[in-house]
């Protein structure tokens, strides 16, 4: 996962590789969940409406600090929207889905929450400036806590997609 994220971050610095890097990176990350049952990833369909709604709430929480301070943030350019969705889903499936499930099996929920958050933060070390990594880690921790508290990955996916599209 780290190799995919770091390769994506480096590739996106090259001209014309931003969108392919995001789409292919998202797809490669999603492969981490290959052959893992959806329910184990947190992708069950029970109370689906509430899961989606939880994702909307997570999206609101993720965007709130920016919304309070900045009123006229331009939306993401249309060409990048699909790529943003792809990488958001890929990251959630990989980190809060496959990695979380593996770590939970190995050492229980605390290891899954902390381990997936640490890996998520490291994965963003090349794509984000150092001062941003605290906020990245906090977002990862929040999403992992949701994954644990609600046994749900739909919410983090929806929230992550909304946050990436809006900022």
């Amino acid at each position: 996962m780290l190799a995919v994220e770091w390769t994506r971050a480096v590739a996106m610095r090259q001209p014309g590789l931003a969108i392919p890097g995001l789409v292919l990176g998202g797809a490669a990350l999603a492969l981490a969940a290959w052959r893992i049952p959806p329910a184990k990833l947190g992708l069950g369909t029970t109370r689906f409406g509430l899961r989606v709604l939880g994702g909307l709430a997570l999206g609101a929480v993720l965007l709130l600090p920016a919304a309070v301070r900045s009123s006229a943030v331009p939306l993401l350019p249309a060409g990048l929207a699909v790529a943003a969705v792809a990488v958001s889903i890929g990251e959630e499936v990989a980190f809060r889905g496959a990695l979380y499930a593996a770590l939970e099996d190995a050492g229980g929920a605390p290891l899954a929450i902390i381990g997936s958050t640490v890996m998520w933060t490291l994965a963003h070390a090349l794509s984000h400036p150092l001062p941003f990594l605290g906020a990245v880690a906090a977002a990862g921790l929040l999403l992992a806590l949701w994954r644990w508290a609600c046994n749900d990955l739909i919410g983090p996916i929806v929230g992550h997609v909304i946050a990436d599209l809006a900022l």
Binding site: R8, A9, M12, P15, G16, A18, G21, L22, R47, G49, L50, L53, L56, A57, G59, A60, V61, L62, L63, L64, P65, A66, A67, V68, R69, S70, S71, A72, V73, P74, L75, L76, P77, L80, A84, V87, S88, E91, S127, H128, P129, P131, F132, G134, A135, A137, A138, A139, L141, L142, L145, W146, W148, A149, C150, I162, A163, D164, A166, L167
Partner: protein
């Protein structure tokens, strides 16, 4: 109960951490916060940097090279022979951010203004490629503007979007450069509602939907 409390702590922790940095998740779209000469309220106060390059002249022809500011906010690429060398053995190019922020009538600048100088003129048949980075905290620029005096007349250069959050233009003379858009038109490419209050409205709508739809959804399964 324990889950809810930890989740609430996660929300608080995130809010504090996110408050300490400029807004943006930047999933690879805009990795470096823009350093503004005159920062908007939501931006940091990092100052923009200057740049310098010496370009060798071999056999009367200047080599291909690039000049850029140390923060990468302005990059100029020069083709081989881009300069009229005139017997020089090297050509010096300097880029300096203007430390003031003029607001010429009819133009809204969204980048810093940079002064680009060189000790040789450009060959007009081999234009240099100038790329300006801009911030995600401001509307996208529609064009690159050029002037010989920052307080004088600004002209537009044919421009096109480059990589995400950059705008590129070809230049044949040096001077002052900045990205912006006509002040009389709405910001290019922007979708605004409610007078540009996009993000607060998005968040408000999310909260309203969660409250209005969430309560019934949460109650219905319990009745079954």
């Amino acid at each position: 109960m324990k889950q809810g409390a930890l989740l609430a702590l996660g929300v608080i922790f995130y809010a504090i951490a996110a408050w300490m940095v400029a807004p943006g998740f930047y999933d690879g779209f805009n990795p470096s916060p823009y350093a503004f000469t005159c920062p908007p309220p939501q931006a940091g106060d990092t100052k923009p940097t200057s740049g310098h390059v010496d370009i060798r002249v071999v056999g009367g022809v200047s080599e291909a090279n690039s000049a850029f500011t140390n923060d990468g906010q302005l990059v100029i690429g020069f083709l081989p022979g881009a300069f009229i060398a005139g017997g020089k053995t090297s050509i010096s190019v300097d880029i300096k951010p203007l430390d003031t922020c003029p607001n010429p009538t009819g133009i809204r600048f969204v980048t810093n203004i940079y002064q680009v100088t060189a000790d040789a003129m450009l060959d007009p048949s081999k234009p240099a490629n100038l790329v300006l980075q801009f911030s995600n905290l401001v509307p996208n620029p529609s064009t690159v503007y050029q002037a010989s005096d920052p307080n004088g007349q600004w002209s537009t250069l044919p421009s096109q979007p480059g990589q995400p959050f950059t705008i590129a233009s070809r230049i044949t003379t040096f001077g002052y450069f900045a990205g912006g858009y006509p002040a009389t038109s709405p910001p290019p490419g922007s979708f605004t509602i409610g007078g540009g209050q996009i993000l607060p409205i998005v968040v408000a709508m999310l909260i309203v939907v969660v409250v209005l739809v969430g309560l019934p959804l949460a109650v219905i399964p319990r009745r079954r």
